[in-house]
Symmetry: C2
Subunit: 618 residues, 2 copies
């Protein structure tokens, strides 16, 4: 393990075409101000005046993530109007920061004497997001007022928690500040941030003062049931877990901490081999928004919070810096393209918090007929804001900084992790990447001129298997991938073109038989994209549709949705005209056209039944 | 419509062999005293001393149903020990009956001033069950003390509700008294009971004073949302609904009330063609223990209360008195053999309240890990008593009086409805019925001697289709069934033997595609029995087992469980040794032995995953 592999920051990755450029422009054109307006309407920004009657304990983080997203969008194009909004917010934050450095909207508005008294509240989480925003805004604009606020606040936290132990708890009830402290350390070079980060990570799971929410019998909820290096299964609140694991991975790499690295690897493996939806969604239970047990992956009631899928991608991105293994990039792209982007509408202004893999609109409608819901059930249509609205600005900030996922750099190797059309200013020179990915399977790298010899390591997605070709300047290039990357070492020349061509045929994916309700069913994927069947395309009873791996699937561009739908011939039952509830006469299946759309695009055309897992014709 | 069709009461049907004789003997040998002991341990019987600190509002009904069950068992064999227990209870009831006739353990112990003040409580329901018990005990033993208690109490109810309208509500919040009043009318011949019954039925859904539980927004919960003759869909609490429909059917027949009959037919059809599990279970939602909407039949979270399936059988039995149609007997046997008997263990002393069609033990275990359950989930093993323990004594009384389901009589026709080994003293003489049903497909009727010519109408179960033969004295008898019965008119002679032989081959049943989660799956039935696959027989992943209608099923007697299991060859997936969570490599299916047991017998051999709906090999 060496820490000489570093992320190539999005600031050095200019998106030039294709999927992520479009998504990022949508966040700039629509999402940014839509979230700002909703946060204004709901009193979040006004709560910075510290006179709101009941500000939520996590409103600071909502504002912070919005600022962070805004900052990333300002990096390549300053915008006075946006900066004014940010600067106004920062002025208020400065104004209300306490002389000792403390700042929290809820506590200082409502119950200043209660600061740092409740493990279950979100002060350190809020500070973490504020810190991420501060670093981003300073890097984008050079303005450091918010950074200075955070520096003072973190000094207070360091004293209260690490030095004096005078708070009522020892570690954050909602992790986040740990990874933010690492960003501060990297931004400032100040060891004290690393020290505090290390303190929080090492102390987690060892303190009797850290008492969790009562929905869980144990501190599993906040991953504080045992010391982090001893944790082998992903437990509790899934977003908390991901943010902790991100920080653990950062620290493992920074410190060369083998025990911590091993824990990260074990936890990552547990998530992706036992507790993850095929969409990259995680945290299947609404109780505690939490991980449950192996293979417990109900579709209709899936919680699979948008923030958790984003968190998994962020964790995976840190893992590939520790060790370049294809599985990390595979999972990052799976979680981003499917279980994260399902959280935002194609219009860019509406959001899901929960991301079910099946919608039965009647069940959702029925739930509302009682004063007490029968089941906890995800909503069927995205909304513009939530009372707990963490997901929308999280999507904003991750999409706005998506370039972070493109490349990482070792001393002599440039790793291409997620494909995106961009110009990247790497340590090895400017590389131009052209691709229609994820809807198209070609990726072309135009290499820098005059670089010394270096290795380009290109991630070969696991979904592609061996069904891909690499050409260098038009000639087939043979290379055996190692752990999911092909390594091409060469004294590159300016006109060198490396081209990866992957077969984008649709494929059927099965789930482990331990996922009970997916038995007999298949998910259709094309490239990294999970598809689903919606009632709006296929009529009623989408769960009765069977597809076959023996029949062709054709991708067809849909202009209205700006994405490729898949068409195939499948079958469904011909049910007797008498429409019995049960029948011992064997029904026929008739052929039928089947239209599938990317899962992330579901619920964009009104309420509609939807299923990811379809029957399989055998 | 004529009311000259009457049930042949169980008192005239002596069970002589086979399934129901064994079940009834088990209730006598085990269930009766087991329930008594549990009700004693839990303070129910002691609460008759009116000094219990917190008697439930429905404990009267628990005791009453136990007395009713005891009475039926005493009919053919008096038992001093049991009668002493009943008489002790009745003495206490007499002692505590108020001078004006009122009697209720909860209200008179805890809040006598609150009598008849809450629609949502169970006074009239309690009185209904007490009345059923009183009639049964008087008929079995001649002792009429309890009957006299009920007569006085009903007189009070008649005055308060029908005459003075002085109660805080107008109709029972939980129906039951209506059908009990009909029993009183039939037992005593007193019109006043019919008048009060008619009043409650006619008033239901018309009163502003009847306010339902707040779990429902409307009075649908207690079928009081609209007048009963206007109701077309089964709504609300399923047991309440069944007891109401029973009384409606009684009254429709008694009064020749065409509108009421039509409502009963429509409601029956709605239940059995839209809202019933393949086991005859009804009321799929734990919220309100209620009907929901068409085709909403989730397996794992099925509520399907034992009492509701029993109630459906009781409703069906009344419907065939209005009009002899095979569907009523089909549904009665389906609900009894499957969704009702699943409520009692093979040992006779443990009970399910909820009867799911799928058990995933890990999910149930997981639910208990949190202080708040993720889902409302049926338990995986039967227990000896519940805090709301309506189902155990309900099974007791229905099994003890199962003979009620055997025959009904018109002026010149004897209807054989459910098959059971018995000697029946009919209006047409003594008939002997021999059968190994439901595990064997032959039924033999030895006819009475010297009777005048009469018609024997034999129910041909719908499941048998046309795959049966009738022989009279060994010679094939051709008869075209009409509405599910074959009619054989003859001057019967003593040695006449009519024999029905039905094909008992297993068959696969499909559910309507609108039942989303059963798509691609089949249930296996043999005769009226629904089968299921348990982990204890089939290993893990029972939901991955596929069966085929093309392969033979063989029935094999299992001595330990005293029932026939089914064996067939099916298939299941061979999952890669690497045990991935998801795989795009198509798994093979390998042949495997599959063992199925009657659904009603599930969960008798320890905790085990279970599924009714299996994959289908096509």
């Amino acid at each position: 393990m060496s820490k000489n592999t570093e992320m190539l920051s999005h600031e050095k990755v200019r998106l030039t075409e294709g999927f992520w450029k479009e998504k990022r422009e949508l966040t700039r054109d629509v999402t940014l101000m839509s979230i700002y307006d909703r946060f204004t309407e709901t009193g979040r920004f006004a709560s910075l005046d510290f006179n709101h009657p009941d500000p939520h304990i996590f409103w600071d983080s909502d504002i912070a993530k919005w600022i962070e997203g805004a900052a990333y969008l300002l990096e390549d194009k300053r915008d006075e109007r946006i900066e004014k909004l940010v600067d106004e917010a920062v002025e208020k934050i400065k104004l209300h920061q306490r002389p000792d450095g403390y700042f929290n909207i809820h506590f200082d508005t409502k119950e200043p004497a209660a600061r740092f008294s409740r493990y279950t509240d979100h002060e350190l989480y809020d500070l973490g997001h504020l810190t991420e925003a501060a670093v981003a805004y300073k890097r984008a604009t050079g303005k450091r007022d918010l950074l200075d606020v955070c520096i003072r606040y973190i000094d207070l936290v360091d004293r209260v928690f690490r030095v004096e132990h005078s708070a009522a708890f020892d570690t954050p009830g909602h992790e986040e500040i740990e990874l933010a402290l690492y960003k501060m350390y990297r931004e400032t070079g100040e060891e004290k941030y690393l020290t505090l980060m290390r303190y929080f990570i090492d102390t987690r799971g060892t303190s009797d003062k850290d008492k969790t929410y009562d929905v869980f019998g144990t501190n599993r909820y906040s991953q504080a049931h045992i010391p982090v290096r001893e944790q082998t299964t992903a437990e509790g609140h899934s977003v908390r877990a991901m943010y902790l694991y991100c920080a653990m991975a950062d620290l493992a790499r920074e410190d060369g901490d083998e025990a911590l690295r091993k824990a990260c690897e074990t936890l990552f493996e547990n998530v992706v081999t036992r507790r993850m939806y095929v969409t990259g969604g995680i945290g299947s239970s609404h109780v505690g928004e939490a991980f449950t047990f192996d293979y417990d992956l109900m579709n209709r009631t899936a919680y699979a919070e948008t923030c958790a899928a984003l968190g998994l991608a962020l964790f995976a991105r840190r893992m590939w810096l520790i060790e370049p293994k294809g599985i990390y990039a595979d999972i990052a792209e799976l979680a981003l393209y499917n279980g994260s982007l399902s959280g935002i509408s194609l219009s860019g202004d509406s959001f899901f918090y929960e991301n079910p893999l099946e919608i039965h609109t009647q069940v959702i409608k029925h739930n509302g007929l009682y004063t007490k819901a029968r089941d906890s059930m995800p909503i069927a249509q995205r909304v513009k804001v939530f009372s707990c609205s963490c997901c929308p600005p999280n999507l904003l900030r991750v999409i706005a900084s998506i370039g972070d996922f493109a490349f990482s750099e070792g001393s002599d190797t440039l790793y291409s992790n997620l494909f995106m059309g961009c110009e990247a200013d790497t340590s090895f020179g400017r590389i131009t990447e052209k691709t229609g990915y994820p809807y198209d399977g070609s990726v072309e790298y135009a290499m820098p001129d005059g670089a010394e010899s270096f290795t380009l390591a290109v991630h070969i997605p696991a979904w592609a298997g061996s069904d891909y070709t690499l050409t260098l300047n038009g000639r087939l290039y043979e290379a055996v991938p190692r752990d999911g990357y092909v390594y091409i070492t060469r004294a590159w020349e300016k006109d060198d073109i490396l081209r990866l061509e992957m077969n984008m045929e649709a494929r059927l994916v099965e789930a482990n038989p331990a996922v009970h309700e997916d038995c007999g069913r298949v998910a259709v994927m094309r490239g990294p994209i999970v598809y689903c069947a919606e009632e709006v395309d296929n009529g009623r009873f989408v769960k009765d549709i069977a597809v076959s791996g023996e029949r062709p699937f054709t991708a067809e561009w849909n202009d209205a949705m700006n994405l490729p739908v898949l068409r195939t011939t499948g079958s469904r039952r011909v049910w007797p005209d008498s429409n019995p509830l049960y029948s011992a006469s064997r029904s026929r299946r008739r052929e039928c056209g089947v239209t599938l759309i990317p899962y992330a695009a579901f619920a964009n055309r009104g309420e509609s039944d939807m299923a990811v897992w379809l029957l399989e014709e055998r």
